[in-house]
Symmetry: D4
């Protein structure tokens, strides 16, 4: 934090008659942020992220997406994720780029390259209808280099389905629970495991499900410790965060 | 259950010639609101409902409650329930009536008389904080002549607590699940048992619990069949309905 | 109710020496999700639930439904319910399975077989627009072996319509009230009868009906005792629960 | 609408050199509203209203209220209503003004003078807890010179209570229905009578009553025609509007 | 209220041995409502209403509507209102019935007959987009025999538009204010006139208008006395209620 | 801004004796709604507002819009804004009027004429999806004669993007921040600049964004001083208000 | 406004050789949070904001406030605003600092010094109950050097009150409208004036006012252009923003 | 999963005549869960958790808490956390147990023992008012053996405060952001760091903050990846989860 010195140098320039008081005022007004300017910060961010590019496809035209991909291709990226696109957009892109489209997850991997999965992330869903969101999470995590186990349709109304899968749950490093309706899966899983649990409410349901509100509130109020929540249907966010946690380095003792 | 029998016995006394029609009419008029000019009406209510008197105490002064009790006493009722009163009101009433006050349930039984418990109702809670509402349900059911088993603090975040109590749950005729926060208990229990489950959301919790809204929505969206829901904190309503179901006569084949 | 009996008959066959334990285990494995590796689990579910199979059709493709039906057919089920499918899906299924499609209820019964209706369930609606949800409830109950009486369009704004139907209401073992808009039917019926009342709010209405929210809140706040509520438009849930209550065995005195 | 002439006269003043263009612009900017100025409008309003003064007491200090009363007294008003004040404020005012305080309605009439009640307004409540709001409505209407019949505790869960009071209901010119919880009274009454029905939701209830929201939505969605709604707990507003309707002159044929 | 005698006669029949106690119990259970049975009540309702038939078309098929019309035609009704139908349904009906379709109001009058308009109802809207709902109100009122004045697009953001129409407003017997967005029109009009004001919030608007919620709350909180509110977009309800009020007979002094 | 000057010039012509008062009155009557009988009124509106005509296109047919434009054309307006119309409507209008259609902003400028941009308004967006609303604001402001700088996709999750644009932000006279999802841009910008900040929440987002509710609440709760908020997606309102502020005359010292 | 000048005068002293760069750096460090290690940062904030110190008192103890004041006093500030404190805290502070406490606004000015009011800000309220929030706005603006005109209790239900005050409204540079309940004042004023309007919803009201929600939505949906909204009860924010706008320098042509 | 063998052994017992079919049915009904019974599961949970005991104090009496502590003491625990208790309860407990009470966090550590802090968790708050919740998180994490850095009052409206603390943020293994009002801190921090961010909305704020709802929605909609959310004011939950993540072992390559 060398900004104090910057201010001093401005003041010294005034003292030396090299800078007018008015110009100094302007300089001081912009000072503390300027040295954090775009390039440097961005560079740091790029360094830190170490993450494949992700394009949020939902509000973009297929032409816009193709344009972005073209720009990326020049930088020799691989495993570019495009989330929330439908088959039609995927078909359009497939004419120009090597892509792998996952219809259930509505997600494409461009320039797909096999990555060895590390660690252990479990993605569990309450019902079969939650599988679309779950696949968005699972494929995101896999593309980011994580080993993923899927436990689908293990909702709490048939507890035995969950209990017969205790082994993968209890050896996971991170669990993503995906559920709509009453969203109780997060609490039940949260009480069974001792790793971080990421809860994804889904908009599956009708009536008093209120577009995912019921599952969202349920998960936020989970009586189990170690559970946190992402936005309704945000499979990508859960997969991304799970990857971050799964790939953490150990504490140097 | 004995009011219906009372009316029947009045009618039988007429049938047997032991009571004149005119006297019978007078007898039938002995209904709680008679002094308000509603005798006939109330009589019909007693016939239909067949339920011991219940006084909803929350919005009444202690003097008003005492007045109502006095009127009832003349008709030799027993086991009159007064819900939602605090210790102070109970103390006031105890000076003039034989009452049993249940502090946790904030409920008094006036002219208490032991009733043999029939059938089997289980009242289960997610946490210890839900016990007040649960006791309102349990004591209501007991006073109405039902046998009640309490399974408290068996919330889903510690599934083993619930699973180690499978026997009473699976042999129950009705289960009342009382839970705040994420209210997941209803779904889990609903998936385990094959009897009707009455879910009572409670206002226990904070933040996004929104005064019971989270548990309420969760229970309404239960993915388990056989679950229905009453108002937030409505222990009395659950106990009353559970009694109705528990005491149903069998189908004549 | 006959699956429990099936298991019992398997056990009795073992007891009688007509079936080896090994063969019995195989027989017990004949459960719907067996091919998904959940045989044992499902078997337990059948034991507990004792219910004909139900397929929630809303979020499934017609091919998925057909696949599930095919698996079920091998076990010689009858009266399989498929809820929330439209005519087009029904037509597709009808080409390959014997089905009876109920257009109003958007519900199909596969391998339909007449079941003698027992007991007495009344399904009452506030308006004609609530009939779709009501039929989902009624046909569910009938398929589960209950006798159902329909009282449609008896909303509280024309009280005489309700009062002229007191006899079926007062002799019912369970009443299902289906109403949108202000949902007052539940309270009025709840005050008239002495059996359990299951209230189903519907999404019928506009403006401040807020997709069923108004009816839902109204029913939860019912001032009548003995009323409980299921999710908005959840006709199946009401019919299923009503069946459970209607078919309860009497208390052994 | 003589404004066009006003504008012309402004323009003529400019033409005549009696007004500068700049001043004319200002004059034209204010013109159309000025002739509607305070006095005239206010006078008309006072003439039209023919209504005793009303002071909304809720957010005023007792000193402020006394100050307003003193100013009014000089104009020889009688029957001044002060709504939403408690006993303590009433006692303070009683030391200086002749007042009649209605504790249940939390309302005072200052300089009370008996007014002959005309026409027929019925005030009906769902429960006894709604009586405070109902009294605010009833006394407001009485003070404004209307004849009021009270039907309290005639909620829909005990329909007989309402039905045994059909006569006053059916001969009323206006009915005010006051109810909390599920607010169904408005619909049932609206279906029985053929006069305007004013529905007042109350904040009575707990849990999913949400401070009157449940009753408010219920009343807005009333399936009965002829029902309109005022704000939660707004007894005064209902009484005032009922008076306006009750005292309407007949159509001159 | 001759029910007490009915009960006595039942009791006397028992006394006389003409009725068993069991049968008497059943009779007593149904008694108080039976004498209010369908016919009488319905007759009274029909007598009272004196209202042309109204068919709420929104949730009905064109065949259902035609069926109802056919039944009505036999009773020689005229001026039958069908609300909320679109052009296509109207065209279908027009092939078989003499109808007048009002496209803006989405409303048809069947067997239209000119009715002399009586009294004076003003229908005012905030914007031009509110005109559909306003026309539903206006044509309903006209069909019910009222004289209607339309003041459209007089929203409060251009106060002069409203103020230049003071005359019809101030001579109206009832004013209906129809407005979406901030719904302020009701308060402004309510402060100007001394007749009942019926406020109709509309779903016009976007963003924080929340489908009419903003206008609805605004109108319920109106600081002007004499304003009551109907459901969002409920033009028919407002027109019907306005007609009731407009056509009230004067108080016999 | 030139309508006020127009009126003044008319008045000055009268003052100079070049125009009679009568002819001036006629001239002043040349207001857009004159043919609807609202000339005088509209004239006052023009005086007060001093703004080019704006047509809110969302709820109008293309024929209605064309009709309004025709009436306007006679008065030789330029730069008429038509907001919220799609390409198809624009194409229809383009056949009859010289228009410039801005597809992203869904906005047309009719009789477009270049206006010199004055002052400095910055329009900043959180993401690229917010650009439609932002363009509505920017083009509105430009059409009203303001100089606009666009800073798009400078959301707070990539702070460097914002910080590398400090210079235009810090020299702006007004900043419009357009953001959906969490809407944090308003607070961050509000803490950086010392000019008024107008926050526009957008409906961009999904799940718990609740159609812009999340961004709206976030902006209303901004911890930065100097921030105010307009309706969700209300780009026009923000551009209009920004123009008013940007073009304020300085205080006469 | 004098902090920016202070910094400039420090810089000019350096320029003039009257102050060394090192001493200037020390002087610039005299910022309120200096003792928290934030000197540099705060200095920049002062440069940007150019605003007298404001202490948000709501969540601070009287000792904390006194501590902050002590630190400030050393820098010879005047007109320090402390918002949201009650009489008791004010009395405590008055023992140690020269303060002027405004009870209605719950706001204190420390080291009060008369500032010449410039420009013209109108603060208008719908009712007398809104005056507390209005005074917070008005005194904030006055303390920041603005001339303020108060128009209290000019709510739209008595339009004449507003219309009789057109002159101050129409000559204002900024108008702040403060209103609870239906919040219609903002729209009506917004349609009358041609300057920026800042709308402050208040939590005044009951029932469906929902703590200011009704007024907030109403103001956001205002059909008048030029209106923007701040948080419920945020008088300070409105006064601060109004000051910024009122004191804008004119565009250099 | 050896349950199939269990079932087989039951069947073999039937085959051998050692078990009746009826008893077998009961045995099969309970089978799959029994072997997961309380002891084993609980033991596993205890083993896994490795977590000091935590007592949620909010809804417990001081006597209840003392009782629980006494029971725990026998098991020689240390560093028992008691959350959400006030000074009075702490004083009571301090008479009987060695405790360290943290007034700001309203949290006590019983049998406190210094634990070496490992790794690096940053707790950042938007304002000083958020410090209570932040301390609950920080002390929880410290008690669980984590090294915690506090960055308080670094809200986004004064971005420099946050930017001058980039170093601790960028070297953290987990960041907890605690903020009320608009909750934007989570997004800004989420965009700066590359470790998991846990967002805690607080109930700090007023008006449209709606008890934390605004911050909660804002955080759920964060446009930054890697952010997840816990319940409003849930400092303990955030601290607990942060500890789990911080102390994760590295992936064995």
């Amino acid at each position: 934090m060398n900004e104090r010195h910057d201010i001093l140098s401005v003041l010294k320039a005034v003292e030396a008659g090299n800078l007018s008081a008015q110009d100094a005022l302007l300089k001081l007004k912009l000072a503390p942020f300027e040295d954090l300017g775009y390039a440097k910060v961005d560079y740091h961010r790029a360094v830190r992220q170490g993450v494949p590019e992700v394009i949020y496809g939902q509000s973009k035209t297929r032409e816009q997406i193709a344009g972005i991909l073209e720009a990326m291709q020049k930088r020799e990226n691989t495993n570019i994720l495009i989330t929330r696109i439908d088959q039609e957009v995927a078909d359009y892109l497939a004419q120009r780029f090597p892509i792998r489209y996952e219809a259930l997850a509505k997600l494409a991997v461009v320039l797909p390259e096999t990555v060895a999965g590390r660690g252990s992330i479990v993605v569990a869903t309450g019902g079969t209808s939650d599988m679309g969101v779950a696949e968005e999470a699972a494929i995101t995590a896999e593309t980011l280099g994580n080993s993923v186990t899927r436990l689908y349709d293990v909702g709490v109304a048939g507890l035995h389905r969950l209990l017969s899968n205790l082994e993968p749950l209890m050896t996971a490093r991170v669990v993503i629970t995906v559920a709509g309706m009453e969203g109780a899966l997060a609490s039940v899983v949260g009480g069974l495991v001792d790793c971080p649990v990421i809860a994804v409410p889904t908009s599956i349901g009708y009536g008093a499900a209120f577009g995912g509100m019921s599952a969202l509130l349920s998960m936020l109020n989970s009586c189990a410790s170690g559970v946190s929540v992402v936005n309704i249907d945000n499979g990508f966010g859960a997969g991304f965060l799970a990857s971050r946690i799964n790939q953490m380095e150990g504490l140097s003792e």
